[in-house]
């Protein structure tokens, strides 16, 4: 057995650093080329989202009226005007600046939504799983089923429209509403996942052993069950990010969400859509970025799933 040899070998030999689950997982991830592509795609997008707006010559809201007027009040295509490398829209707003600022908005939405999802989904799934078979479990899961059965986009739209005029709907330039609305429909998958994890994990002997030494329920859930069930949660979260980007884009496209002059990739597409034949750069530039983001996160999510699956341990 490998463990035996390791133990024997270590008695006299220099102590090796403890290799953990995460180190192993990262090692496997590093060997997965697609996942690395995804990881670099994400790092690239995050980089331009964080630092891009700081270095662009134009603020996202600035209108270069002179340039548009000179162009006859029409959008400027890319690579025509050296001061607007990626062109402008019909209002003279610099596309590059708006795309970079849009990266900020879209990525922020995607990530904050995941926190909402974790905040709702994990506790509900954990409680339902730990007290499985009880009335609490039944209540929580039927509620989850109802949420699951409801058409996502419809619920998001209803929710957004209902609260749009309130202070809550206006907060953070309309973004808070988007976070909560998308989060409210996305947590169900995570809740079910966590419950399923807990159902199988709570039957394990180490949980029984922990109970036998009098560990409290809270500590069993937090220290024993969650860390053991975390891998699929991480994968679900990573794969939830592109879904949230897409949901945000869909919302922005129909005018819900971040309010002008700020723009997300989705609202940029919406704004450019009337000009899709004459000035396609207004739609395909943000479209490309959305595609890159989706593919990157999906690749990374798939890679993580393989890397964190203990059954693959030692292979590849």
């Amino acid at each position: 057995m490998a463990t035996n040899q390791q133990v024997v070998g270590r008695v006299g030999v220099q102590q090796q650093p403890s290799s953990g689950v995460w180190r192993d997982a990262f090692g496997r991830l590093r060997k997965n080329r697609l996942a690395l592509v995804g990881l670099f795609g994400i790092l690239f997008l995050a980089f331009i989202g964080i630092f891009g707006p700081m270095i662009t010559p134009w603020p996202y809201y600035a209108q270069d009226t002179a340039a548009v007027t000179a162009n006859g009040f029409k959008p400027i295509p890319p690579f025509v005007d050296p001061s607007h490398i990626l062109g402008t829209d019909q209002l003279g707003q610099d596309m590059l600046s708006r795309l970079l600022d849009g990266a900020r908005i879209s990525l922020t939405v995607a990530i904050v939504v995941q926190f909402v999802v974790i905040g709702i989904g994990v506790p509900i799934g954990a409680i339902a799983g730990w007290y499985s078979g009880s009335r609490i479990d039944n209540g929580l899961m039927r509620f989850t089923d109802v949420m699951y059965a409801f058409p996502d986009l419809l619920l998001i739209i209803l929710f957004s429209v209902a609260f749009r005029e309130t202070a809550f709907g206006q907060a953070l330039n309309g973004l808070l509403l988007v976070f909560v609305a998308i989060g409210l429909v996305s947590w169900v998958t995570v809740a079910r996942l966590v419950r399923g994890q807990f159902l199988s994990l709570k039957e394990t002997e180490f949980v029984e052993a922990a109970q036998a030494i009098g560990v409290s329920d809270r500590n069993i859930i937090m220290k024993h069950l969650l860390p053991n069930g975390i891998s699929p949660i991480i994968v679900a979260i990573t794969l939830g990010i592109p879904a949230a980007i897409l949901a945000e884009a869909a919302l922005a496209y129909i005018g819900v969400g971040v309010q002008p002059p700020r723009a997300s990739w989705g609202s940029l597409i919406a704004a450019g859509q009337p000009f899709i034949r004459s000035y396609p750069h207004l739609t395909y530039l943000p479209g490309i970025l959305i595609a890159v983001a989706l593919i990157s996160f999906t690749f990374l999510g798939d890679g993580l799933r393989d890397a964190l699956d203990p059954k693959l341990k030692g292979k590849q």
């Binding site: 057995m1 133990v7 922990a210 036998a212 030494i213 009098g214 024993h224 860390p227 053991n228």
Partner: protein
């Protein structure tokens, strides 16, 4: 309850500060004086314990009317075939029977003067690990793969003893070296997968002993280990239980282990205790056909090679519908009518501590 807490709280810091020799001596004295603080004659008194499981096919009477005592510092064996209720008895004592489907339906369990079945869930939790340690069968699955060894040993200490971090860590290291793990200090940050099976069982023993319990329930502690490791682990349990003055309820299906480790042995069959006595009495003069069968099924060195191994004919009964009267009667070679109509009681045989549940070996029975 409060009394026992005072004792162990007073104990805890001294164990950490004293040298091992001092601890040994203090322990010895404590055992010698054990009569003084005692609230009961026995550390554990189980009376009429019945644990049932509701299944779709009916109620499984896993443990029926089991009574026994464990004295302070004593090692009591619980032997029997698979499915005869040994483990459920241990789980019932720790109140860890999964509910549903399991339920303790009758009886009382008195531990050190405390009626365990009347304790609240929270009080029972505080007792587990602190006063009653548990060693499970399979060390490979009983340790959490995502937590370090040091954390898992420290868990009970943190939960029950409230030691400051430094003292807790010292105690963890001390425990780990006590159970024979070399370079204990360096291994606290290791994960279970870096330990072999035998070492993990040592860790489990360290966990069971971590809060200096009065009783350890060892549920087939060596079944998952290979024979050479078995001997080491048993020796360790024996050594440490003597050193700490801990009583052990050793569950095993291995009669050799029971003979080597225990002061007294209970033989269980189909949820009942069918014979109880000191090791010598039970192995030299068993007074119940089932115990004969068990002893007879041990392979012997003078067996003719190639002969069939001896077994007890038939299978243990399903406990949904146990045999009426004597539960062993369908498999017993000495059955007479009374065995099928009336259940014998556990009655005294040749010496006061030796009891058996059999019509045939009672005074006036048909087996002398």
């Amino acid at each position: 309850m409060t009394g026992s807490e005072d004792v162990s709280l007073a104990d805890a810091p001294t164990i950490v500060e004293l040298s091992p020799e001092d601890v040994l001596r203090a322990r010895g004295e404590a055992i010698a004086n054990a009569g003084m603080g005692r609230k009961a004659d026995h550390l554990l008194e189980v009376r009429g314990l019945s644990t049932h499981f509701s299944t779709p096919d009916g109620v499984v009477q896993a443990v029926g009317d089991v009574s026994f005592d464990v004295g302070y510092g004593e090692t009591l064996g619980l032997v029997g075939e698979s499915g005869c209720g040994k483990s459920v008895t241990a789980l019932s004592i720790a109140r860890l029977v999964p509910d549903p489907p399991g339920k303790i339906v009758a009886g009382s369990i008195t531990f050190d003067g405390i009626d365990l079945l009347k304790l609240s869930v929270e009080d029972m939790r505080k007792l587990r690990g602190k006063e009653i340690g548990f060693i499970f069968q399979d060390p490979l699955t009983s340790l959490n793969p995502t937590l370090t060894i040091g954390y898992q040993i420290g868990e009970a200490i943190k939960e029950h003893m409230g030691l400051p971090d430094k003292a807790a860590k010292d105690r963890i290291v001390e425990l780990l070296s006590k159970v024979g793990i070399p370079r204990a200090k360096d291994r606290l940050k290791d994960y279970p997968f870096q330990f072999s099976g035998g070492m993990r069982q040592r860790v489990m023993i360290a966990i069971a002993l971590s809060c200096d319990p009065k009783l350890i329930l060892a549920d087939e502690p060596t079944t998952a280990l290979d024979v050479t490791i078995q001997a080491q682990i048993l020796e360790l349990i024996q050594k440490l239980s003597t050193e700490f003055g801990t009583a052990v309820l050793l569950i095993t299906h291995d009669l050799g282990i029971a003979a080597g480790m225990c002061d007294r042995v209970n033989v269980m069959y189909a949820g009942r205790i069918v014979e109880t006595g000191s090791v010598d009495e039970l192995f030299e003069a068993p007074r119940m056909p089932y115990a004969w069968g068990l002893l007879d099924s041990l392979p012997r060195i003078d067996d003719v090679r190639g002969d069939r191994l001896r077994t007890i004919e038939g299978l243990p009964p399903l406990l949904i519908d146990p045999p009426v009267a004597c539960r062993f009667n369908p498999r017993c070679a000495y059955t007479r009518d009374i065995c099928r109509t009336e259940e014998p009681e556990l009655t005294v045989r040749d010496s006061p501590g030796h009891l058996a549940r059999c019509w045939a070996t009672e005074p006036g029975g048909w087996i002398a």
